[in-house]
Amino acid sequence: MSASTDAIAQPKTNYLNATHGLKSWLLTTDHKRIGLLYLISVSIFFVLGGLFASLIRIELATPAGDLVEGNTYNRMFTAHGVIMIFFFLLPSIPAVLGNFLLPIMIGAKDVAFPKLNLASWYVYMAGGTFTMIAMVNGGIDTGWTFYTPFSSTFSNSQVMTAAIGIFITGFSSILTGLNFVVTIHRMRAPGMTWFRMPLFIWGMYATSVIMVLGTPVVAITILLLALERGLGFAIFDPARGGDPVLFQHLFWFYSHPAVYIMILPGMGVISEIIAAFSRKRIFGYRFVAYASIGIAILGFFVWGHHMFVTSQSIYSGIVFSVLTMLVAVPSAIKTFNWTATLFKGSVSLDTPMLYALGFIGLFTIGGLTGVMLATLGIDIHVHDTYFVVAHFHYVMVGGAILAYLAGIHFWWPKMFGRLYSAFWSKISAALVFIGFNLTFFPQFILGYLGMPRRYHTYPEEFQVLNVLSSAGASVLAVGFLLPAVYLTWSLLYGPKSSQNPWGATGLEWEVADSPPTTFNFDEIPVVTADAYDYTKKEAEVV
């Protein structure tokens, strides 16, 4: 990290030390503190989900089912999926970085509804508690998708408790999204027009729209599942005229757009970082902004590609297949524009940038295999194999988690006013990239060779690739643990950060202090320039 030599001026009272005591945190309405509450919670859930992932990889190191029984294995991969998706990936960037940065980046004192914001954290924790109770009481064996009729009629695991937990958590997501949409519409500082907003805000806006309009559909679906399981209603039960495929329609109507809830904010983070470390305005700013909205809208048109091998009509399959490929267009626009931004930029390879470059590569692989899977013929061959597992991990881990880590490293000095070790953070970025590829690339091959997902045993010829994958997972785990160590060190002993250690543009760097004061700004700033005005900034320096 480029240690700044000018005198470090930090505000005496900031949002961290303005008030003291546990109560001042648990009852806070400050968006920055709520962001930190989320940071702590999602980190805990990430560790839990990672623990289950480790158990899965240990079991799969040998072909025989020697660590756990099949039944336990089912509960392990369900726990991994449920925790990682509902309690880590969905809230990670929006609720942590979004909460912290969104008001500052648009020049507002807070989000539009601060109390609702706090409520969303409590709702999230309540949902998490229910789901944890389900895990402790024996777990769930349905997979994170809760497909009927297994989940509603046959499974003997804690489906009800977990369903209640996920139903509740959904509302936390809705409240966050609602808050952000209103904040972006109504709270922008004077001069902060729509097309002067940083692209992170555009990503958050697109995400929030999906959160508000998609999440309720999965809520009602889970409620119907609970009515069938708990009260014996006939909704999805084929014996009484119900259609399990309807469950899948309703489930994926939300759960496919949910993938974009996870990736769109990540794309926003990457846009910020690529611009800051290339010292250039993002190439084709408007196209990147529109692409976010395009992905959010198109995302609602493609859910049927999860159902190519169900009884869904073949004609629907064709339509969904073509529409799915269309999503590649806005995604490609973004990727090309990032690379075009790098072109002839003065690129510096600081830690956030390393993560961001990793994101671009891995997301591209994840996205392109997505187009492969959208092809009806290929999908029927690789459906429910490790090819699919590898694909979505490239998007979710290689995309969303790398973007989350990139964002945490980028804004850490702003959040806590302290710097972290440049050396160790670069090591960690490298370990995550290498470990990730070692874990998941073999799974593409495994899947293509026909290894199905969700089994705890496999034929011996798959062992070499599985051992590679498990070895990669341990490298990845070290890569994820390192930040926990050096970031904690930075919190306690890290050197103080200046207001703008990266020399980046944006209200959060140029106007707000590090760490910001409770109301972010002494007076509401007036914005007079476009986002990423790096040419002007460089001129000032000269």
Partner: protein
């Protein structure tokens, strides 16, 4: 500005106008969320309706058009009183606001009361899904419709029984969730009433009443669609 207004003006906003427009947009987004929430239910209804058009017609004739119709009128009337309550709040007339809120409350409870009468008759007829569900044609018209259904389609009695259960599952899911929204609304009126009586609302600050009004009208909207889709099928056979 009086200190009284200051308390109602949240720190993050620059003006009452901004505050009002923000809460209104927030509430509309919540309504959008509700549209999608009930939308999932309507999608399930649609799918099962087109898969079992004839059985759903016979099943629908089990419901009382009279009670359903009265309830529709009650809800529409309550929507009117709610709109009036918002108007009085905008004009800053606390007492009148409270009166219209109270009327809305009474009508809302009336709706729930009628609904529970309907539910109890379903209970007596063993039409609660999952709880020893057993459908019997109960009048000549239904017997005739039932016999015709069996004759024209060749469905077995068991088959028809199971699809009847499907209809009543959808019926209870939809109307139950709607009634739950009504009850939540009633609770919110009880929270608003004393505030109206304390004269808290005026042209600048009436967001709580306005937002609650939007909610109440939305619940009315859902019923406007539920009534023909559930109660009025097959009245012409």
């Amino acid at each position: 500005m009086s200190s009284h207004s200051d308390a109602l003006w949240a720190h993050q906003f620059e003006s009452f106008d901004q505050q009002r427009e923000s809460t209104s947009l927030g509430m509309w987004l919540f309504i959008g969320q509700e549209i999608m929430f009930f939308g999932g239910l309507f999608a399930a209804y649609l799918v099962y309706r087109i898969s079992n058009p004839l059985i759903f017609k016979v099943a629908s004739s089990e419901l009382s058009v009279l009670w359903g119709g009265i309830n529709t009128a009650v809800l529409i009337l309550s929507s009117f009183t709610m709109a009036m309550a918002v108007r009085e709040a905008q004009l800053g007339r606390g007492k009148k606001t409270a009166i219209f809120l109270l009327l809305t409350l009474v009508l809302g409870l009336g709706f729930v009361g009628i609904k529970s009468i309907e539910y109890s008759s379903k209970f007596e007829h063993h039409l609660i899904p999952g709880q020893e569900f057993e459908w019997h044609p109960y009048n000549e018209q239904q017997v005739a419709a039932y016999e015709e259904l069996k004759a024209t389609t060749g469905y077995t009695e068991e088959f028809i029984q199971s699809r009847m259960e499907l209809f009543f599952s959808i019926y209870f899911a939809m109307t139950g969730l709607h009634a739950l929204h009504m009850l939540i609304g009633v609770g919110l009126i009880i929270w608003l009433l004393p505030r109206a009586l304390r004269n808290e609302f005026n042209a600048d600050y009436h967001n709580p009443v306005e937002c609650f009004g939007l909610y109440w009208h939305f619940v009315d909207l859902v019923w406007i669609f539920l009534f023909p889709l559930l109660y009025l099928l097959g009245r012409n056979i």
